[in-house]
């Protein structure tokens, strides 16, 4: 219980930090702070109303407390291009980003574990070399480049997958679900290709280390089958550091999602960010960052707690 409390406090601290950094960056940069919550072409009357609404006419400290209060009520400002609350704009988009990132994460892990095992058990063999070279190369890829490449080859030349959007609007019921998955393949695959290299390389290193431990020698000496030694004994212990790293990479995954959604016109938060950049819609940009930061913090918290339950050693460290 104490462990969960500590992790929760840490998550809240991170979130507070994100929100505070945003607050001060927006206000310390040159320009009218009202621009962060509304249209530059607003009437003076609206400007005064917003100044009062957001308390921007008051001292910085009081403003800051107000800002936190507004956030707690889920108020992220008004999108000045769409004249609706930022929260409404982003909440419509959030499910798509969650579907995209979660499916990319699951696929990366599902492919990463067997590839990592393959590389570690045949360390310095040709399969290992190939996996290592591909892994290093994959880490050097630029997300949009990968997205464009897959779009050409699998989308345009082979015509296997649609190259834009998230679902066929006329499809209903089960057909809609299928169409959704069909549209998900290319953006998801782009993210998987980016993430997989680092994941497999970490997996390989930690598994090779685990295979050198005493309990592995003991298991072998007892006559446990080689496959079972790897999968049941060594892998379990190698998974923990790997998952910690996957958690640390969540920020990168989110950044990748922003770029991928832009390529494929996938209607998630990332695409909303791209559109907001073009329209200089600062409230949406600010809200999107706060929301994505909250999502990353929540995901990290869930994995931390899950691992704490699965592996008692984590709880004491």
């Amino acid at each position: 219980m104490r462990f969960i409390g500590l992790r929760l406090a840490r998550g809240l601290l991170t979130l507070w930090f994100a929100v505070t950094v945003t607050f001060f960056l927006v206000r310390l940069l040159p320009g009218d702070p009202v621009l962060a919550v509304a249209d530059p072409n607003m009437t003076e009357e609206l400007r005064q109303k917003l100044l009062a609404d957001f308390g921007l006419d008051r001292p910085l400290g009081a403003q800051y407390l107000d800002y936190l209060g507004q956030l707690l009520q889920g108020n992220l400002g008004i999108s000045f291009r769409q004249s609706i609350p930022v929260t409404t704009v982003l909440m419509e988009r959030l499910p798509w980003t969650l579907i995209l990132t979660a499916s990319a994460m699951v696929t990366t892990i599902a492919l990463g574990i067997p590839l990592g095992v393959l590389a570690a058990t045949r360390a310095r063999g040709w399969a290992d070399r190939l996996i290592q070279i591909t892994g290093v190369t994959a880490q050097s890829l630029f997300v949009p480049s990968v997205g464009i490449f897959l779009m050409y080859v699998l989308g345009l030349w082979l015509g296997w997958f649609p190259i834009g959007g998230a679902v066929d609007l006329d499809a209903t019921g089960f057909a809609a679900t299928l169409s959704m998955l069909h549209h998900l393949v290319l953006p998801c695959l782009s993210l998987v290709l980016i993430q997989l290299g680092g994941y497999v390389l970490t997996m390989r290193t930690t598994l090779i280390e685990a295979l050198g431990e005493d309990y592995v020698s003991l298991a072998k000496a007892k006559g446990v089958r080689p496959g079972a030694v790897v999968w049941k004994h060594a892998l379990r212990n190698a998974l923990l550091p790997t998952t910690t790293i996957a958690g640390l990479q969540l920020g990168t995954l989110v950044g990748g999602a922003v770029l991928t959604e832009t390529i494929y016109a996938y209607p998630g938060i990332g695409r909303a960010i791209f559109e907001a950049v073009g329209q200089l819609d600062f409230p949406v940009l600010q809200g999107a960052f706060v929301l994505l930061a909250a999502a990353v913090v929540a995901a990290n918290l869930i994995t931390d707690v899950a691992y704490g339950i699965l592996d008692p050693r984590v709880r004491t460290s």
Binding site: Q139, F142, G251, A288, F289, A293
Partner: protein, 284 residues
């Protein structure tokens, strides 16, 4: 052979074992070539601007990388893009390294600062950086300098973490205590003993931070936050996306993508080779 090896300083041994790694040497040469392209861009191709007669042409002898939808030469765009991409990458990286070094070394040496600085680094590392960079770059207005500063502002925690852990292993060394005993000022000890000790790790960091900065610049420019008056590899991709060339003219996106890949891959391989060369355990 052993007699000869004994006489070599560690630096010479690193260099000689680095030279024997073909991938590392090839990456180094490639990076130098890219830097030369960046420096001598005006001699290689005219600055791409205005409208050309040949629009959306496939690569040919006249236009090596083809032309875009308004008839500009993609080869010229990539050449000039090398300039901005590398300039932003290098300057952001230098700035991030300086901040990271200062914070990392202070955290390791001044024990009282360690906890707050450590928490700051941890918190910064656990946030999604790209959306934050987008917000700040959009607020500050697009320019090459903004990009470099914004990227540096959010890249130093990585450096600080690496520097701190290396510096922490030096602080308890006897020569540091000796320097304290003889009355060396903290600043002097940091400069004379800690900084030289962490420089080798920073060497790898410089390379990796630069490649990450190049990727960040490409990402921001791709989203439309690049300097509108200059070309970078990300800007070329952004223009292709805006004009719809993304799905029709493969050459407008392939060549800038290859340029990014070559730069980032060679920096990664270079740092791997450098790390291997510095690790003398495998020498025989």
């Amino acid at each position: 052979m052993t007699a000869l090896a004994m006489e070599l300083t560690p630096r010479q041994r690193t260099w000689s074992s680095f030279r024997r790694n073909p991938l590392g040497v090839a990456s180094g040469i490639l990076l130098i070539l890219l830097a030369l392209v960046a420096i001598f861009a005006p001699l290689i191709a005219p600055f791409p601007e205005g409208y050309g007669a040949d629009t959306s042409q496939l690569p040919s002898a006249a236009h090596w990388f083809g032309t875009d939808d308004i008839g500009q030469d993609v080869f010229a765009q990539v050449v000039w893009g090398t300039r901005v991409s590398m300039a932003v990458g290098v300057s952001a990286s230098v700035l991030a390294i300086v901040i990271g070094l200062l914070i990392g070394v202070s955290a390791a040496y001044f024990r009282r600062l360690d906890t707050p600085l450590g928490v700051l680094v941890d918190l910064s590392l656990s946030l999604p950086v790209l959306p934050l960079m987008i917000l700040v770059a959009a607020l500050a207005g697009p320019s090459v300098r903004t990009l470099a500063v914004v990227i540096a502002l959010f890249s130093w925690p990585e450096v600080a973490r690496v520097v701190r852990s290396q510096a922490l292993s030096i602080v308890p060394m006897p020569f540091v205590s000796a320097a304290k005993v003889v009355g060396g000022s903290p600043l002097w000890i940091v400069r004379k003993h800690l900084l030289p000790g962490v420089i080798p790790v920073v060497g790898v960091s410089v390379v990796l931070t630069t490649s990450r900065a190049v990727l960040a610049e490409a990402g921001l420019s791709f989203l439309g936050l690049g300097d509108p008056s200059s070309w970078s590899w990300g800007t070329i991709l952004h223009k292709a996306q805006q004009s719809g060339a993304l799905a029709s003219a493969w050459w407008t996106t392939l060549f800038p993508s290859l340029a990014i890949l070559l730069l980032v891959l060679s920096t990664t391989l270079l740092s791997v080779a450098y790390n291997d060369a510095r690790d003398h355990r495998n020498d025989s």
